[in-house]
């Protein structure tokens, strides 16, 4: 049984990666299980300077999902490198640094900084819907996706660059192709879908930021469709995500074209979710008589 997948020269022991923003910086879940058993960990979005995030309510529950507007609360790159990276380094799993900026200069500085650290890959977050200036501003127009990807790729040295795409666009295939043209080594999708919750009693938005990002099982069909469309548009590997909760979900994303997947909201719902999926995937592959998980990638029959 082979669960190993390789993306842009980086080997993942399992195709199941913890998604950015739902796994903190790894420590919290390590109290529940050995997080090194995961294929990888994508860190919380990291900015040049520390950020306190958004004020007011940051989460709302929706049918089979959640809306969030955390607003990239994080300790900043330097504090992360000094205080958190040594812990992550010791784990022995792939560490993906999620890079979040508000200006092009920010992105370049952060990427350059990470090129001189032990992180395994960079994930370019041009898709956070919850910060006012920047972030998603780079991720909507294919031309700007290509531009920022090219600029960041030029400074991240030997580190593979994964570009994380927002679903809040006209044609996901165009944005996927733009990232590939800009030199991305892989793409990851989908980030959250912009949504809203209103309290009819107070007539006010539930979220402090008015709108937020929708995630959880409710977005899975949309994510699956987008992975399928992106797979037909690019040759670089795809990391799929959006509402994954079970090993069956993992196989569905891989069949649609993902080389690996990220598990996000499920970690918030159940601290054991990611490891339960990793363990369940072996059983599922056995029961499907699949010896190598790589054989399902892009195997969709239409």
């Amino acid at each position: 049984m082979n669960l190993k997948v390789t993306i842009a020269g980086t080997e993942f022991k399992s195709p199941v990666i913890a998604a950015s923003g739902t796994f903190g910086l790894g420590r919290e879940y390590n109290a529940f299980y050995d997080v090194s058993l995961l294929g990888g960990i994508a860190t919380k979005g990291l900015t040049l300077e520390p950020r306190e995030g958004n004020g007011g309510t940051r989460i709302a529950e929706t049918p089979s999902g959640i809306l969030n507007c955390v607003g990239l609360q994080n300790p900043g790159v330097e504090k992360f490198v000094a205080d958190e990276l040594p812990f992550l380094d010791k784990l022995g799993t792939v560490i993906i640094a999620n890079v979040a900026g508000s200006t092009e200069e920010d992105y370049l500085k952060i990427a350059e900084r990470f090129s001189r650290t032990s992180v395994d890959c960079l994930e370019l977050n041009i898709s956070c819907p919850n910060v006012k200036c920047g972030g998603v501003a780079f991720g909507v127009e294919p031309a700007s996706v290509e531009h920022i990807t090219r600029a960041v790729k030029a400074v991240c040295g030997a580190k593979p660059l994964i570009v994380k795409l927002t679903p809040n666009v006209a044609r996901i295939a165009d944005n996927a192709a733009a990232a590939e043209n800009g030199g991305a080594d892989a793409i990851s999708l989908i980030n959250t879908i912009t949504g809203m919750a209103i309290d009819y009693k107070t007539r006010r938005p539930v979220l402090g930021n008015v709108t937020g990002g929708l995630s959880g099982p409710c977005v899975k069909p949309i994510a699956l469709r987008m992975v399928y469309e992106a797979y037909r548009a690019v040759k670089i590997p795809i990391i799929g995500m959006g509402g994954i909760q079970t090993p069956e979900d993992v196989l569905e994303f891989m069949i649609a074209g993902a080389s690996a997947v990220q598990v996000g909201s499920a970690n918030i719902f159940d601290p054991m979710a990611a490891i339960t999926i990793v363990k369940g995937l072996t059983k599922l592959l056995n029961s499907c008589k699949i010896d190598d998980v790589n054989e399902v990638i892009g195997s969709l029959i239409i």
Binding site: G24, A31, F32, E52, I59, A60, V70, Q73, N267, I268
Partner: protein
């Protein structure tokens, strides 16, 4: 903290919309303290988030929660039946921590916000507690017997009053907003009435609706009596990773967003920013 499969041992309605849920496990639970909470799965697949509830009572194999039915999740939990199973992470949060200087303790609770205060006297036996339990009206009054019992801890020879020289009953003041039972007014007002009579606690612990916490924060500042509060926040993971339960608190002269789930849910009243 551990994610544990519990079995419903009992369910009892304390009022029309508030119930007590006792959950049992054959596993030995980790040590727990007053003010900590459990993060409980909702038996409805469309409601993904767990719900945080304070630990009202607990022992080595069980936890008891007090739950107000306020939405779909708590409604769903109210339909649990004896021997149903439900998953929960326990214990979470920092809980109430008293120093040795805190010998005289005032507990001020509002509604089901009284629940997390109940275990404090068990964690700090031999200290002098008074509790002020506030409710909107007589039909909502609850927890009286439980607090009577809790405040008896360390006061077994109670015939002539405990070591604070008061009878047990006078260490508990129940108030109702409409005056239909006990003191007429808010729990904070009942506390102030005792303060005017000379009561000087070393610390105030409070939990309840936001207006009450604001009122107690003001009292704490004006009377220069330090205080701690336990609040209610919308929560995500419950273990400190997702950062959705941020509370604005003062720290080293700066405003910081702290996580209610691991940095709280108990915060110093003076640090809290509304």
């Amino acid at each position: 903290m551990k994610d544990i499969i519990f079995t419903v041992q009992s369910k009892k309605f304390l009022s029309e919309s508030v119930f007590e849920l006792k959950l049992h496990t054959r596993f030995t639970l980790p040590p727990m303290r007053a003010g900590q909470f459990a993060h409980i799965e909702v038996p409805d697949a469309s409601l993904c988030l767990r719900r945080p509830f304070c630990l009202y009572q607990f022992d080595r194999h069980s936890i008891t929660l007090v739950i107000a039915v306020v939405g779909k999740g708590t409604k769903s939990l109210s339909n649990l039946k004896r021997s149903d199973t439900v998953r929960g992470i326990v214990p979470l949060g920092n809980g109430f921590t008293l120093s040795v200087r805190h010998q005289k303790i005032a507990l001020i609770g509002g509604g089901i916000g009284c629940a997390p205060l109940l275990r404090v006297p068990y964690d700090y036996p031999g200290r002098e507690f008074r509790s002020y339990l506030g409710f909107s009206t007589k039909s909502g009054v609850m927890f009286c017997e439980e607090f009577e019992q809790a405040l008896s801890v360390g006061f077994l020879n109670d015939a002539g009053g405990g070591c604070d020289g008061l009878k047990k009953s006078s260490r508990i003041t129940v108030s109702t907003d409409d005056g239909s039972f006990g003191f007429k007014g808010y729990a904070a007002d009942a506390f102030l009435a005792d303060y005017k009579k000379g009561y000087r606690p070393d610390v105030i612990l409070t939990c309840g609706p936001e207006p009450m916490i604001k009122a107690v924060q003001k009292i704490s500042a004006e009377l220069k009596i330090p205080g701690f509060m336990s609040g209610e926040m919308r929560m995500g993971c419950g273990i400190g990773a997702c950062l959705v339960c941020a509370c604005a608190v003062r720290e080293d002269g700066q405003v910081k967003n702290k996580r209610a789930c691991v940095d709280g849910p108990v915060f110093r009243l003076e640090d809290l920013i509304f």
